[in-house]
Each structure stands twice: as structure tokens, then as C-alpha cells.
Subunit: 142 residues, 4 copies
């Protein structure tokens, strides 16, 4: 099983702003799409993770916009994910054919749904955490 996954998206009408290009906040929606599909591919249905009481809210995100994209253009989003007992890190690369359009990342914390406290998922939710075992290890820098 590979460590990254690519999905194809088409820029929606409502995602384009008055400059005629995709509005910058919508890239984060696409990141969520890429993340969901990569996890699914790695054997993790994120919806089930949440229903079992473990959440992955975003700690931080960043995106660099290299080239714009417009309505109805087909774009490819490649997501790579890494995992630690307390964190999920995803990196994103958006392309239109060979053109690099944008790059970004999201970092997520494992949080217990019942009280929204950060947890060591490997210790407190070992069965759910085991679902993430196909992802490469991640060592948070802080």
C-alpha cells in the first residue's frame, strides 16, 4: 500500500470568486476531501473513528498558492499522511496536469470526543489507533 493518494476534483461554480479563480478558503475544503479519501484508502473510515469517540481537529494549516485555477477545471490533489500516537500530519499537493497549483499541510491532534481533551490514541484508543497502522510514522517537531 502506497503512502499517498491522488483524487481528481473539478472546481465548483460557487468556489470561484469575482477574480474568476478558486477562492483561497476552498482549498482547505479540498484538503479535507483528500485527507478523507487517503484515510479510506489506508483502511480508516474517518466517520467511524469519530463515532467511536475519537476526533481529529485541526491544530494548524498552511497553504502556498502558486498558480490559480478556474471554474470547471479538473485538478488533482495528492495527499500523504503520517501518524503519531498524538498527531496526524497530512501534506497536500494540488496540480493541473503538470502544473503545480498549490501545496499545503494540516496537522491534527487526537482528541477524546467526550471532553475534547488531547489524548495518546495508542494508549487510550488502541483498537481505533490500530486502524491507522498503514500510515508511516510522524514525529511532531514540538
Amino acid at each position: 500500500m502506497g503512502t499517498e493518494w491522488t483524487i481528481t476534483l473539478r472546481v465548483r461554480y460557487g468556489e470561484v470568486d469575482r477574480m474568476g479563480i478558486a477562492y483561497y478558503a476552498n482549498y482547505l475544503d479540498w484538503f479535507t476531501e483528500g485527507r478523507t479519501e487517503l484515510l479510506r484508502r489506508a483502511g480508516v473510515a474517518y466517520r467511524e473513528v469519530e463515532e467511536l469517540g475519537l476526533l481529529l481537529p485541526v491544530l494548524s494549516t498552511a497553504c502556498r498558492y502558486h498558480r490559480p485555477c478556474g471554474y470547471d477545471e479538473e485538478i488533482e490533489l495528492t495527499t500523504a499522511a503520517r501518524i503519531s500516537p498524538t498527531r496526524l500530519r497530512c501534506d497536500y499537493r494540488l496540480q493541473r496536469a503538470q502544473d503545480l497549483l498549490a501545496e499545503g499541510y494540516t496537522e491534527h491532534a487526537f482528541v477524546r470526543a467526550s471532553d475534547m481533551h488531547p489524548v495518546n490514541a495508542a494508549r487510550l484508543f488502541p483498537e481505533i489507533f490500530a486502524k491507522f497502522r498503514h500510515l508511516p510514522a510522524y514525529r511532531p517537531t514540538k
Copy 2:
């Protein structure tokens, strides 16, 4: 206490599409704003209603778009609400100064949060329902 309430909105950058006008789906976000503020004015914090276990999901909506509006324009949304033991009905009128921009409505059902079943709120949640007493009565057509 009046039976309608007007709020002022400014069209956000991300709400405008490539035609340079506010995208039609965003009007429903504005309706939610108008509804929330009208209810607050009538003494109902909708957030508390939900937290007490009663929800008001939308059964139906409609909107007629008479004139477009663009980025950064100041617009006024007037909301009127009526209530029955099983329904909330809101009517919306969007204006830019004297110009009528759009008209619409939403109809909502009282639903129990625990099982998402429609309920007679006056009977099952009399204390919450009492909060809506300042709204005029509504007789659903069906």
C-alpha cells in the same frame, strides 16, 4: 415587541461568484442569520433550544432573486417568524436601500434531538416552547 426584525449584512468576498454577484446558495446562509437574530430578539437563543434537546431542521425553502448584489454592498434582511406546536415558518425580504433584492421563506419542524423524530413541542417541551410565545401563530397548510 414587533413581529419582524431587520439586520444589516455586507456581502463577503467569498460569497460572490465569477459573475461578480452574490452566489445564490449564500442567501440561505443570510436567512439563517436573519432567523437567529429575529429569534434572539423575541427572547429565544436558538443555541440554547438545541442544547435543551429540541432541533428545528429545515423542511422546505424557496427564494426568488429579483436583483443581484455585489461584493461589499450593504444589504438589509428583514425576517418575520410564526410558530405552531410543530412548525416554525420564517419569511425573508432582502433589500438594498429601497430596492427589493430577494424574497424567500424557510419552514422548520420541531424535532427531538435524541431520535430526530418530529414532535409536538408545546406538549413534549412546554418550557422551551414557551420561549417562542412572542411569535405570532402559524397554521401550516399541510
Copy 3:
């Protein structure tokens, strides 16, 4: 060529509200998706229509919500369109397997991009209007 077209969507994380169900305004985004794909199927790239100077802003919309849908659920949206020299009318039916989730419509006017005036597209833009010839005729009620 058929007169309707069905696309499959998956409910996005950001489209779901705190009730855990898809927020009502997002259905209109899906309608735009369905409309774009139906037109593409009928031989009309809507993006090109706009670039040739003809726009199709929404005149009115309505939606009835029969059953909710949640995050990551696969849903099917069927769109049917009809055309007149001044109008486009689309009807939408949203299903999850056999369950009818929602029904709605949008009505659009042909408008000249240069001045946003309504036009008879068959007369003023005959070459563009010819692209819509595979759609059944529509007789606006007003």
C-alpha cells in the same frame, strides 16, 4: 440522449452542521453540480457559454427536504433540464439508494454578460443557444 442525468456525490465534512446532517444551503451547491454535469452531458460546457457572453443567473429556487443525510454518505442527484429562448429550468431529485432525500428546482434567465440584461438567447445568441437544442422545451408559466 436522455433528458436527465445522475451524478454521485459524497457529503463533505464541511457541509455537515452541528446537528450532524448536511446543512440546507449546501443542497444548492449540489444542484449546481448536477446542472453543470447534465449540461455537459447534453453537449453544453457552461463555462464556454459564459465566456461567449451569455449568463444564466438564478431567478428562483426551491427545495423540499424529506430525509437528512450525514457526513461521508454517498448520495445520487438526478437533474432534468428544459429550455426556452429566455429561460432554463432544472429539476433535481436527491436520493440515497431508494430513499428520496430532497427535491428541488432552479429557474434561470438568459442574461447578456455585457450589461446583465435579460435576452432572447435564440435571437441574440443563436449559435450558443443551438448548443442547448438537445434539451426538451420549457414554457415558463409567467
Copy 4:
């Protein structure tokens, strides 16, 4: 005239996700609100800038999410901006009373609307650039 500006926002219903907290992409919409209002305060109507042929697309953005916020909560967004002949840099701080909720930034390039090319705004659009004179200087790191 100060170099930063604070606006008050209320978290909208549709901005909250199934975790019951504001969805991360919506913070970028709020940043746009803060930026627009700070510029207006500094004497620049961004809408007019665009209409004069100068655009400010986003080059990069980042956000750190410290504490979540929920539906209907009142939050305060403070924006500070700096300017160079080719760039606009904005920094954002989101608070609920004394609690720091999030911090982020956006960096923008001056781009000519006619061809979407980056420009030296001070040289090519001196009259528009003069509108930004109340903002402190910014020295892009790259």
C-alpha cells in the same frame, strides 16, 4: 490612525461542523472580513482597488488553532497589515474575550487584472498605491 483594527463576529450556524465547532476553512473567510475592514479603516475600499484594475490574490496563508469556538459565540478578530510595492501582508489574531483562539496570516501579491501578472504597484498604479500609504512598510523575506 492605528495600525490594526478589531471587528466582532458571531459564529454562523453553517460555519460549525459535526464536532460542534467552527470548521477550520471558515477562519479564512473571517480573515477576509478582517482584512476588508482594516483596509476600509485605513482609507482603502478594496472593491474600488479591484475595479481600478489591481488585484491582491493570496500567495500564502497559515493558521494555528489554539482553542475551538462554537455556534453563536461572539469572537473578536484583530487584523494588522503592512505594505510593500509588490506585497500586502496581514496578520490576524482571533479572541473570545481574553482567550486566544487562533492566529494566522495571509500574504498577497499586487497583480494586474488585465493579465494577472505580478506588478510593482507603486510604479504602475501610483494613484491606487497611494491609498495604502497609511499602512506600515513591509519587507517580504523572499
